[in-house]
Symmetry: C2
Subunit: 114 residues, 2 copies
Amino acid sequence: MSGEIPGMDVSMLGALAEPNRMAIVEMLRHEPLTVGEIASRLEVSQPHASKHLKVLSNNGIVESKPEANRRYYKLRLEPFHALNYWVTSLQKDMERRFDSLDDYVQELQKNKNE
Amino acid sequence: MSGEIPGMDVSMLGALAEPNRMAIVEMLRHEPLTVGEIASRLEVSQPHASKHLKVLSNNGIVESKPEANRRYYKLRLEPFHALNYWVTSLQKDMERRFDSLDDYVQELQKNKNE
DNA sequence: TTGGTATATAACTGTAAAGTTATATTGTGG
DNA sequence: CCACAATATAACTTTACAGTTATATACCAA
């Protein structure tokens, strides 16, 4: 009730806020990849890659499709749409504000009477 | 050389990926606030608020201006511009891809010969 | 100067998450 | 069925960070 954040899912950012996982997202930007491919390019162990992929998956950032022995992982659009929406609306609000904190403080001074 | 992420600063996301700090960003969306105001609205201790503000500050997300006894914190535009740029370019790349992983796997099947 | 308010910092504790190693599961081809 | 390859999971260690308490710093007013 008090800790409610309007649009943005904080845990999604947490999932992205780790270098290996961000690297995975960048790798998947252009093409789906298997766990083995990802682990190999990341130069981490297979369980380690699987663990990061699970975090990304739990946050809806990636989805996987079994294909024979392998699992192809790819990015999902939705969370990035949500992130884009949040950032854009934040920017709009910010740009409505004063350009510098100095201006605002000066404004505070002037309005001290009311 | 291998772990290079193009545009996005991962640590900035880490700074945002904590509920209290995200709440601070939301609070500052419309107006600069003092540490005391932030701590009070967040219902956390003053040192705790200061600590989160320091993280945000270290990542360039907020800036502060001393005014007498107090410090006004406000959001900075730049990191959100960078984030917006990253998300947008990622989305563009993604939307060039197949709509579903199924399609992609079918594509793999067809192209197995080459 | 003294007292009070606002903020920062240092030192510490607890917990969650990164990273590792070993093992289980699932699927494929012979 | 068996042997092998790809991935997932479990158990564990270690590190990083949230959160707390106590103290230091800076500013103002009387």
